[in-house]
């Protein structure tokens, strides 16, 4: 079953397909030519070498990835791959932030796919560039190509240096499509990949140097703030006059202010918010009956098969039925969404911390009812991004506001209440599971239905723009309920919904809601945050019923040796076999392979139950395939585990019938320093294996391990997130 589930599911045609998909399952706006030989990663749809690499006469190399820095350190990783393959010192690498229309279109920086998509492309492009430059040098000098070696960008023959990348920098040698015949270095020849190179972006962040889009200061720049509707469903009836020196911008229910300074804009927005008249309606479900709502709305939803399997199996001795619920989750980035926009004639330039410049361009141009060539997107970093947050929304809004002041740059910043209240959320979910066991306790059958809103409302994937303001304009676009990416791209709600264990009879289904009172989209792990926990919780119960150790029970149901290796490693790290139990303390262990095709993670958690549950220690064992930057991967696995602990213990979006009410840090709690567990990470390196990604693998199994530890401490199996005293009662 290993890794094969995705394609069979896609073949059933049950899940919503984005309009255009690449080989990795991700939407690009650039079409793929099926008649050309397949090239690695995103090189397949961005074949010209000059899109990716540029040598400068000053001895530097520009690398132009289409993937963007969202706090995960990807620019450093990609730079290492380029430097290694070209044999140049890392200090010569200049990573250029993505922008339209020049950068390669690599879709969205998401799904833990950047090293696969971009790293594979850059490795191949750099190998091809190296081959081309050496070949030209050989022809010009007569030195056989086999006799040339590259040392920090210089080409050395038997008699010494005969050329360099820099000498040929102006020769336009990269104005060709990449050849499928380029051969990257052998594993043993790699020098810079596999080294913990310090992050390129960190020094400026530590010294407070202007780096984020929030720090942009353009001459004559005005500051904008938005006045949000008084409810999710609201119609603006009347607006007061703007204070002196402040300009009001209105289009339907979209209302904003423009002022020369931030404090003027903020004060004016606050003043207008208390005086604007809205007609409001109740459209949100009752939070107290949220699980029931999901079941009821699911009955009106779209139910599809994810994977069915019917193989010979021992007789069923017993069937267990369980249901699990999780609430809406917020991105809760520490910085708020921001963009700068400036119009020139009928074209607009936007500086944005978007995850997908081309996808953003598509939706902005659709909303503005113009063509894509009239929208230029430049990526600039923002605060940490864990999925589809407000970055794209604020970019469109900045463009809408800046249209009122042609030629003038406008900086729009969201408030904390907007960030926690108006950005897309990760959908609440409910899963019903039936598990069949044989007389000896072996798991032989699994049926589930995963009920949820769609997990992708990203821009650029539908003819109707999905950005927040698009549905608020005078000439409004309809709100289209979010979709699920295809299983070949990891799926949305059913992501990790197919147990990675050997089960002869299986029927996993998913139900997508066709109504969307609260806007949902992708957040780290997507459906995995519910699915991994629910599967692992049932496995723990079945192991206990069979009087087997949970680790041993999993090992005998796993077939993939790499899965077994990480699980065994986590068990060894935490001293599972010899653990002792203190009063109020508990330990649990869980495993998942992200998307069933990506990185492996096994987590052991130790918790202390006091007036509420605290997670004190986490042990993380991972396998991300070939590792480019070991410390970077550890950082991602560690961060994901802490994110998981925060989701497990604290996080939930709250709402009344009109509004999100958890729109401040008291309402939406995340772990603070005094509550954060210590984390020990061990990665099993496989330099011979493909990249498997790193950012999302550890989060979901951390939630599952904490749930298991709670049972160990308190004898309670949690069935609703977060694991608060109310939900454990």
């Amino acid at each position: 079953m290993t890794g094969s589930d995705g394609r069979s599911a896609a073949g059933r045609g049950g899940l919503n397909q984005p309009p255009v998909t690449s080989s990795s399952g991700f939407a690009h706006t650039t079409p793929v030519d099926p008649n050309k030989p397949k090239l690695p990663g995103s090189l397949n749809v961005n074949r010209r070498l000059s899109q990716w690499l540029r040598f400068n006469a000053d001895g530097t190399v520009e690398v132009h990835p289409g993937k963007v820095e969202i706090g995960q350190g990807i620019l450093t990783t990609l730079g290492q791959i380029a430097a290694d393959e070209l044999d140049v010192d890392f200090a010569r690498i200049r990573m250029v932030a993505a922008s339209t229309p020049a950068s390669p279109d690599e879709g969205v920086t998401s799904g833990s796919l950047s090293t696969q998509d971009s790293g594979s492309a850059i490795r191949h492009a750099a190998a091809d560039a190296r081959r081309i430059f050496l070949s030209v040098t050989s022809q010009r000098t007569g030195v056989p190509i086999e006799s040339l070696v590259v040392r920090d960008g210089a080409f050395l023959g038997p008699q010494g240096e005969v050329g360099s990348y820099w000498q040929l920098a102006s020769a336009e040698l990269l104005e060709v499509d990449a050849s499928p015949d380029a051969r990257p270095k052998a594993i043993e020849a790699r020098r810079q990949v596999g080294i913990s190179t310090p992050r390129l972006d960190l020094p400026e962040k530590v010294f407070g140097v202007a780096r984020y889009v929030h720090d942009m200061r353009l001459p004559g720049m005005l500051h904008a703030r938005i006045i949000r509707p008084a409810a999710r469903a609201a119609t603006l009836m009347a607006t007061p006059d703007a204070p002196e020196g402040v300009q009001l911008v209105r289009d339907g229910n979209f209302l904003a202010v423009l002022a020369p300074t931030e404090w003027q804009a903020e004060a004016a927005a606050a003043r207008i918010a208390t005086r604007a008249m809205w007609s409001v309606r109740d459209t949100l479900p009752e939070q107290a009956q949220h699980a029931e709502y999901l079941r009821e709305a699911g009955a009106r939803g779209e139910r599809t098969g994810v994977l069915a399997r019917d193989e010979a199996a021992p007789a069923v001795a017993r069937t267990e039925k369980r249901s699990f619920f999780r609430p809406f989750l917020a991105h809760a980035s520490i910085g708020t969404s921001c963009a700068v926009a400036q119009w020139a004639g009928d074209a607009v330039t936007i500086w944005s911390h978007t995850q997908g410049p081309y996808n953003l361009r598509a939706d902005v141009s659709r909303t503005l009812r113009t063509t894509e060539d009239k929208v230029l997107i430049h990526h600039m970093e923002g605060a940490g991004c864990y999925g589809h947050n407000g970055a794209d929304d604020v970019a469109l809004e900045a463009a809408l506001i800046a249209r009122a002041v042609p030629g003038v740059p406008v900086r729009l910043l969201w408030s904390r209440a907007e960030e926690l209240g108006w950005g897309p959320f990760s959908s609440a979910m409910l899963v019903d599971i039936e598990a069949d066991v044989a007389a000896d306790g072996t798991l032989v059958g699994w049926r589930s239905n995963i009920i949820s809103n769609g997990h992708s409302g990203r821009p650029g994937r539908s003819p109707i723009p999905t950005l927040l303001a698009a549905s608020q304009l005078e000439d409004a676009f309809p709100v289209v309920p979010s979709i699920n990416p295809p299983m070949a791209g990891g799926g949305g709600a059913p992501r990790n919904g197919i147990p990675y264990y050997r089960i002869p009879k299986l029927d996993v289904q998913t139900t997508r809601l066709l109504e969307m009172p609260i806007r949902s989209s992708a957040l780290r792990g997507l459906g995995a945050t519910l699915n991994v926990w629910s599967i692992e919780s049932v496995l723990d119960e079945l192991a206990a019923a069979a009087r087997e150790d949970p680790v041993a029970y999993r090992l005998r149901h796993l077939e993939d040796p790499r899965a077994k290796a990480v699980l065994q490693k986590a068990a060894d790290m935490c001293g599972w076999a010899t653990r002792t139990k203190g009063e109020g303390w508990g330990m649990g262990i869980a495993f998942a392979r992200y998307k069933n095709t990506g990185a492996y993670a096994a987590i052991a958690a130790e918790i202390e139950a006091k007036e509420r549950v605290y997670c004190r220690r986490l042990w993380v064992a991972g396998d991300a395939g070939e590792i480019v930057n070991p410390d970077g991967v550890v950082n991602q696995f560690e961060g994901g585990a802490i994110h998981g602990a925060s989701v497990a213990l604290l996080e939930q979006v709250t709402f009344d019938r009109r509004n999100i009410t958890s729109d401040n840090w008291d309402g939406y709690r995340v772990l603070r320093f005094s509550e954060v567990p210590t984390v020990e990470v061990a990665m099993l390196n496989h330099p011979e294996a493909p990249f498997l990604g790193a950012g999302e693998a550890s989060m979901a199994p951390t939630i599952a391990a904490i749930a298991a530890a709670i049972h160990d401490a308190l004898g309670i199996r949690p069935h609703a997130l977060p694991f608060t005293p109310e939900n454990l009662a």
Binding site: I70, G71, Q72, G73, S196, P198, R199, D201, L202, P203, K205, V206, F207, G208, V209, A210, R211, Y212, H214, D215, R217, T261, E262, W263, Q264, A332, S333, I334, G335, T336, E381, G382, A383, G384, C385, Y386, L413, S415, R416, D631, N635, E638, G639, G640, A641, I642, H643, N664, W665, D666, V670, L671, R672, F673, S674, V676, T678, V679
Partner: protein
Amino acid sequence: MTNFLLNGAEVSVEVPDGTSLLHALRGPLGLSGPRFGCGDEKCGSCMVLVDGVPSFACTLGTEAVSGKQVTTSEGLGDMAAPHPLQAAFLAEQAGQCGWCLSGILVSASALLAANPDPSEDEIRLALDPHLCRCGSHNRIIRAVRRAAQEMRV
């Protein structure tokens, strides 16, 4: 007109009454280190030192720092002459997105000024006003301990 010492230099700034120190620092005074996160004293992104005491610049009126010393992360050190904390944060690669770091650095510098050898629990307590969403907490704690050790030598 409010006069104060900003990172050791005398500055004068004229902003309307009630304008927050954060807006003054990021606006007319041109700094990028102090950052907006919530405007509500809940995340620490805007933290600066006022006469050595960690203070939320998002809610503090600019006029309140008249005649006082204000220190931001830019005032701790720069690439040419980093503060031991900044060097330690780089050595430990203590960060991901970096948004929280400016505030955490100034709070940590106040902690080390008062307590040259803080325990892990004391560091966690001192940094509790700060949110980090990327999960770099343990690296940050290690970096503060490393800096403390460097500064004691």
